[in-house]
């Protein structure tokens, strides 16, 4: 029995040593790359000061084209949106962006009505992308707060990287091999952080015109607002088009709202909540117009 226990302990130690070594290397390589948005912001963006940044989920990533905005308004902007995320991740991304010593005059926060009024924040599908920064207290605390149930694989990755890397092996381990081979490769977004859906409109589900009322109940939204105030950043809340939906925001003087929920013709949608490439140009120019002539 003694021999068995000793051997099991020894082999477990050995496996954890090798496994954590591989996982650590994997996160290290990924952390030096530009594959995901947070690594891109850290390693791929040299500029420190921006006139504005666009922050949001997939709608933020694909609706406003920062290249076109910069060309039209003669500004310097960056898109730091990450798909499949929500306001809690946006708050983390904003904090992370600022922690890198970067600044912005304006924050264009792309919201969705459901997320904005959601009082409960949970871990988002793509939050694992921050795992390369798990040693950073900011990220560690975020994971610790968001991972409520079961084994906190992301949180405990600070001490045992194999937990997160094996759980998200497709997304992190194999991506790190790819990043090792192509360290400057970005995950589908351009050098300004934008992504666009193709010029097709075949994913739209028919519906009827509806009003959606939203409210500012999301605690992360309130934190973003507070952080912007602290850092002297102008907050602009942007609502991208939603097919046949009119989003109604409560009146506020705390920040500017640009509501494009109803401006887009049907043929410029990619699906019900995303615009196609022509739709992106349409929305971006409309956005610039509102910024120029408020």
């Amino acid at each position: 029995m003694r021999k068995f226990i000793t051997k099991i302990a020894l082999y477990t130690f050995f496996i954890l040593l090798i496994g954590n070594g591989i996982a650590f290397l994997s996160l290290y390589v990924l952390g030096k790359s530009q594959l995901y948005k947070n690594q891109f912001v850290k390693n791929g963006v040299k500029e420190k000061r921006f006139d504005y940044v666009v922050l949001g989920s997939s709608t933020g990533l694909t609706t406003l084209d920062t290249k076109l905005i910069d060309k039209t308004l003669n500004t310097s902007g960056l898109n730091i949106s990450m798909d499949d995320t929500s306001l809690s991740s946006h708050y983390l991304m904003l904090q992370y962006f600022l922690s890198l010593g970067k600044t912005t005059d304006q924050l264009i926060l792309c919201v969705t009505p459901g997320d904005l009024q959601n009082p409960v924040n949970e871990l988002n599908n793509n939050d694992y992308r921050f795992l390369t920064e798990v040693q950073d207290t900011l990220v560690y605390n975020y994971y610790d707060k968001m991972e409520q149930n079961g084994l906190k694989v992301l949180t405990y990755s600070k001490f045992m990287p194999i937990l997160g890397v094996s759980y998200y092996n497709n997304e992190l381990f194999y991506s790190s091999i790819y990043a090792f081979l192509k360290p400057t490769k970005r995950n589908r977004f351009d050098e300004k952080g934008n992504y666009t859906y193709p010029q097709i409109a075949n994913h739209i589900e028919k519906g009827i015109d509806t009003n959606i009322e939203t409210s500012y109940l999301n605690p992360s939204f309130l934190k973003i607002k507070k952080l912007c105030k602290q850092k002297g950043i102008d907050l602009i809340v942007y609502q991208s088009p939603i097919h046949r939906k009119n989003v109604i925001f409560p009146n506020t003087k705390d920040f500017k709202i640009i509501n494009h929920s109803t401006i887009l013709p049907e043929e410029l949608f990619y699906d019900n909540i995303h615009v196609n490439s022509k739709g992106r140009t349409f929305c971006t120019l409309a956005f610039c117009k509102e910024i120029k002539n408020p």
Binding site: F4, I8, I15, I18, I22, L151, I162, S166, Y168, N169
Partner: protein, 475 residues
């Protein structure tokens, strides 16, 4: 509680520690511990399920005691009848009630008679088919006077609920497993090491092979019309490996965990995809179930004795019952029938035992293995499809050979990644098993280095995020 869950990762070492350190050399205390642990393990799904298994345990314990007390044939038959009605009644009610009601209504509606009946919102207790057959084997063996009834309720209850194999087998015979609860168990280093290696191998089959393949299988079987013939073919082959990895992986883990506690369970799979005909496949696939049917149904029916019509009848019964055992759906019956039709020619031409002796494998054998595998894969389409018509549509679309494109597997980076992992996993499994088959082994034999490598492969190739339940739990 799943073997591949965090709870079990804490549960197993705790029970192991108590078993070998706290209750060492205390047979009765060890058996009580195993019983309590098994109830916790089973009750983890839903504590209400415990009432059924406890009822089944009491029923067969007392019936067997009564059988041991009497030699009166009528009384013995009556007692056996109570056990059969009680056990099969519970199984029938929880597993088949809704199926029979809806099938009855559909049958009448097909001839224009509309009937109304309500189905019940019944939850199928996990593993009910497995433990029902296990307890029945005990009562039948006592009835046949092939074994003595046990006087110890604890030993019997621990045998019925033995957690490593409780919910998905192997379905143990009382004559094999129950006596192991009577004997003092001493820790055997080599046995425990072999057990750990089997657990690792089983985990690899489940988490790496089955769960990765499941990603595409679920997509393809959900909407087969949307995919090309090539994709449907891959989906079919992936399901063959999913169900094999899932089920045999569980069996390997069950055998391995049992070894840690000093128990020996029967081998349930002997590399079935290296069978040279269907008869050999059934000697290698889910052995504990096929031998159960052989011993308790096929042979009592007359087996392969008697006229050809009798033989055909017996084979048809055994395969149809086997199919129906798997689930309350006609697809399983169709799957059983499909195998019966493949088996019958072998039986009629006396070829069903041509591959009993494992000799060296020649090229012809490998060709036979390939053909048998493809035929088995076609059978799996019936097993996996939601309905028989869905299965036929799947096969028709696959054999149309309109398009052999495989774009599904490289449509997105994630798909390409998972496809690559699935192919790699299936490749590792197949090559490793081929090696064992050539070496004429019945059980996996893994070196220490191999086990280490497998653990790393589980970590870095396992599908943890898209973890699936064990398929056979639903049976």
């Amino acid at each position: 509680m799943l073997f591949n869950s965090i709870e079990f990762l804490l549960f197993l070492p705790t029970v192991f520690f108590l078993y070998w350190f706290v209750f060492k050399n205390q047979l009765r205390a060890q058996n009580v511990l195993l019983l309590v642990a098994s109830y916790i393990f089973y009750g983890w799904w839903d504590w209400r399920f415990l009432s059924l298994i406890i009822a089944s345990t009491f029923l067969d314990y007392f019936i067997a005691i009564q059988l041991g007390k009497t030699d009166v044939s009528k009384k013995r038959k009556f007692l056996l009848g109570i056990s059969l009605v009680g056990n099969l009644g519970m199984l029938g009610f929880f597993k088949y009630y809704n199926f029979f009601v809806t099938s009855w209504i559909e049958a009448w509606s097909s001839v224009g008679i509309t009937m109304e009946a309500s189905t019940l919102n019944i939850i199928l207790p996990v593993g009910i088919s497995f433990y029902t057959f296990q307890t029945l084997s005990y009562t039948i063996d006592v009835y046949r006077k092939e074994m003595q009834p046990t006087k110890s309720f604890i030993d019997f209850a621990a045998f019925v609920t033995f957690f490593p194999q409780l919910v998905a087998g192997p379905i143990e015979r009382a004559s094999h497993l129950l006596p192991q609860f009577y004997k003092n168990r001493t820790f055997d280093y080599q046995n425990a090491v072999d057990g750990v290696k089997l657990i690792i191998w089983g985990m690899f089959k489940k988490v790496v092979v089955a769960d990765n393949c499941a990603f595409f299988v679920n997509k393809i079987f959900e909407n087969p019309e949307a995919y090309s013939s090539g994709e449907l073919f891959v989906g079919m082959v992936f399901f063959a490996f999913q169900i094999y990895g899932d089920f045999s992986g569980y069996s390997d883990m069950a055998i391995g965990i049992s070894k840690l506690f000093g128990f020996d369970l029967m081998v349930n799979f002997k590399f079935p995809y290296f069978s040279r005909d269907i008869a050999e496949f059934w000697r290698r696939w889910h052995i504990s179930l096929s031998t159960w049917f052989r011993d308790y149904i096929y042979i009592p029916l007359g087996g392969s004795k008697g006229s050809q019509w009798f033989q055909i009848r017996n084979v048809m019964i055994i395969f149809l019952v086997s199919g129906f055992w798997h689930g309350a759906n006609w697809t399983y019956v169709a799957w059983g029938l499909f195998h019966a039709l493949l088996f019958l020619p072998l039986l009629l031409f006396n070829l069903n035992r041509s591959h009993l002796i494992t000799k060296s494998y020649g090229w012809l054998d490998f060709a036979k293995i390939g053909v048998t595998f493809l035929v088995v894969c076609i059978g799996w389409v019936f097993f996996r499809a939601d309905s028989i018509s869905d299965a036929f549509q799947y096969l028709a679309h696959m054999f149309e050979l309109k398009s052999l494109g495989l774009s599904l597997f490289y449509k997105t980076n994630a798909n390409l990644m998972i496809f690559g992992l699935s192919v790699l996993a299936v490749g590792i499994l197949s090559l490793q098993e081929l090696f064992w088959v050539i070496k004429k082994r019945d059980l996996p034999k893994i070196s220490a280095f191999g086990a280490l490598l497998l653990v790393l492969l589980i970590f870095f190739m396992g599908s943890f995020k898209n973890q699936m339940d064990f398929i056979y739990f639903q049976f």
